[in-house]
């Protein structure tokens, strides 16, 4: 299952293909403790184009931050590849890669060194990457770029003297110091006050439009993703479920999970609040449900959803969803027949050891529950 977004937008700068990441978690207690794999991200493909914003939307635990961290090469994927300009990215995290791909973190209260002035925070990348000889002009230019004026005044302040929005601007300026081509923004506004969030989003939009920066915007707020992004991809329990141009995705959501997400988002324009009592919660990633990860919560779940994970299908131009509802019935029957014959089609290249997962029990439970 891979929702392909490579077709959207030209000039793909950074691309992730079939990324998979698992973490080893301890299970049980004492002498009987064993280890299990927690699949945080499974078979996720995302591409970020120059002058484009791609938003990754999902609930906490859906793996969206893990994707961003893998792209920043803060953590190493267990499978899949990362392509920079169509060429496989180098192993490790060489300086050359960091110079092109920069990350902005969620919490500006934690991501800036509190004992150094703003100037120091900005000088470090300028010096390490030998960006410019005129450090002072470089710092002033960066602060102006993020609308912190007058720059001299802000450069001599400590992070605690700044408001949350100003700190996040400094964090963005620091990421811009090396003149990157890709900016990975991990929930850049969720810690900020509502009245200043739009300011930061508008700054990102401006960087995209004037500097042609490729931006990955990771967020749980689908309304802000609609506002900022060109493309939205939705993640659920470590997998991509839907990818589409942002307006198309929010106006005509194809995947039931996206529909749930949209109906849960606050929307004062709605005449009557929706009712979604007992819609369940995201599954455990150590023992995820078989087939489609969303089937235990899905109001439209069919027999096949319990057993076979859905392929990604194109619903309309540039709009893909990984859901059996959008697969034509002929193909569905073929797949169903194959899985019934004992040929398990997972649509996932990640082969994993069997005993670590209790797929079977979950599947049986889900089926019996429906009956």
């Amino acid at each position: 299952m891979s929702v392909d977004t490579a077709s959207v937008g030209t000039g793909t700068v950074l691309e992730a293909r079939n990324l998979t990441k698992w973490f080893s978690v301890k299970r049980g207690r004492g002498m009987l403790a064993g280890h299990a794999r927690l699949y945080a991200v499974e078979d996720v493909s995302v591409s970020i184009g120059a002058g484009q914003v791609t938003a990754v939307v999902g609930e906490s635990g859906s793996g969206k931050t893990t994707v961003a961290r893998m792209l920043a090469k803060i953590i190493t994927p267990n499978g899949g590849e990362i392509l920079l300009d169509g060429r496989p990215a180098p192993r490790g995290r060489p300086r050359d890669y960091a110079r092109q791909v920069q990350m902005v973190f969620q919490d500006p209260f934690a991501s800036l060194n509190p004992v150094h002035r703003v100037r120091h925070n900005l000088v470090r990348p300028l010096k390490i990457h030998h960006v410019t000889d005129d450090i002072d002009a470089g710092v002033a230019g960066l602060l102006r770029r993020v609308s912190l004026e007058p720059p001299e005044e802000f450069a001599s302040k400590f992070p605690h003297e700044l408001s949350g929005g100003q700190r996040q601007r400094v964090a963005i300026a620091r990421a811009l110091a090396v003149r990157p081509r890709v900016l990975l923004a991990d929930e850049p506004v969720s810690m900020l006050d509502v009245s200043i969030r739009l300011g930061i989003l508008n700054l990102l939009a401006d960087l995209r439009d004037t500097d042609g920066l490729a931006i990955l915007y990771v967020t749980h707020d689908i309304a802000s993703a609609r506002y900022l992004a060109n493309t939205i991809v939705v993640m659920y329990a470590g997998r991509l479920v839907e990818a589409a141009p942002s307006v198309s995705l929010t106006d005509e959501p194809a995947h039931p999970y996206t529909q749930l997400l949209l109906s849960a988002a606050p929307d004062p324009e709605r005449p009557q609040p929706p009712s979604l009592v007992r819609s369940g919660s995201p599954p455990s990633l150590v023992a995820p449900p078989s087939g489609c990860r969303f089937h235990p919560r899905c109001p439209y779940a069919m027999e096949i959803c319990h057993r076979v994970s859905p392929p990604s299908v194109e619903v309309s131009a540039g709009h893909t969803a990984a859901c059996w509802l959008h697969v034509d019935s002929g193909r569905r029957q073929v797949e169903e027949g194959r899985s019934a014959d004992g040929v398990v089609t997972t649509h996932s290249p990640a082969s994993r050891p069997g005993p670590e997962r209790s797929q079977q029990t979950t599947a049986t439970r889900a089926v019996s529950k429906e009956k």
């Binding site: 609930e59 906490s60 408001s163 949350g164 929005g165 100003q166 006050d193 509502v194 009245s195 200043i196 969030r197 739009l198 300011g199 508008n202 939009a205 749980h220 707020d221 689908i222 309304a223 802000s224 609609r226 506002y227 942002s246 307006v247 929010t250 106006d251 749930l260 997400l261 949209l262 109906s263 849960a264 988002a265 606050p266 929307d267 004062p268 324009e269 709605r270 609040p273 929706p274 009712s275 979604l276 009592v277 007992r278 819609s279 919660s281």
Partner: protein
Amino acid sequence: MIAPEAPAGNPAATPVQLAEPVLEIRGLCVDYGYGVDAVSAVVDCDLVLRRGEVMGLAGESGSGKSTLAMAALRLLRSPGVITGGEVLFHSKPFSDEGPRGTIDLLAASEADLRAVRWSEISVVLQSALNSLNPVITIGAQFEDLLKVHRPSFSKRDRWDRSAELLDMVGMTADRLRSYPHELSGGMRQRAMIAMALALEPQVILLDEPTTALDVVTQREILEELMGLREQLGFAALFITHDLSLLVELADEIAVMYAGRLMERAPAASLFRAPRLPYTYGLLNCFPPMHGPRRAMEGIPGSPPDLRLLPTGCAFHPRCPWAMERCRQERPVLRALGGPDREVACWLHAGAATIPDELNHPEPPAAGRRPAATGRARAARVRR
């Protein structure tokens, strides 16, 4: 007991009889620190919470919304100091126990407060993990609570009541044996809500109860909470920074800025026809989910430092319609076209022309929905 009279107003604007007040905050002032270093976090706030209604309190961080609520219940920690005002609690308990009549919470003795807290007024805080005791099970925490407040209950009664409460918020009774860390964030917050409702309070204070949760969980919990309000008839003071959420949820919304109440209106009126530039700005901070995408500006600048408040109206440096008068004189909260609305803004003081953005007509259905009466409670299992 003070018999509160419904304010005489335009009957067309308020078709539904206003419910009687249950919590009245009058002129509440709170400082942090003493003497010259004192910072005024809440200044001269008046708020009336009516029986069975949801009052939303919106504002940015540092606007004093949590301080106001905590001070009103005398839960404020040092260095917070209540420097003035009164908080009248008109108690009419649902159960046979509990005090009756009007109590000034700010003047009440510890013993009187003890009789009111939790059993008549309860609190749900933002971080459920920090509110629950991590080393004992959920069931043991219910047990503690019921043992103290319902001494007549047997052990069996307490367990049954705990199970019933968990069922009410959509959890199964086997969760009583779980420790807080074994529950998801949403479950923990549900357990907190069940605990807050355990003694059938008349007022429940919700301080950002769902801010740390995912949207789907948030929606589920709020739905359950609102259903329970219909059923049990409690009044709620709902504090959040998410104005778009309040619009869907609250009967009435009060907006705070820099420690003062700046606008108060029925939820629909506030959303459709905001009168305060700050409210207008806040509403424009939430990108819409429908329609064409357009650039939005939010509110320029950043929230003020309470130690260095601007002169005049605290919002004037960020206000697009600021006038000379706003820089010099501080506007006071005044009624606007009926008893339902109040706004503190010079634009509405008569002399100035009101910008179109702040002069939308009141929505037709601006009347309140009838307050929850808790009639369904009779049908519930009662002991």
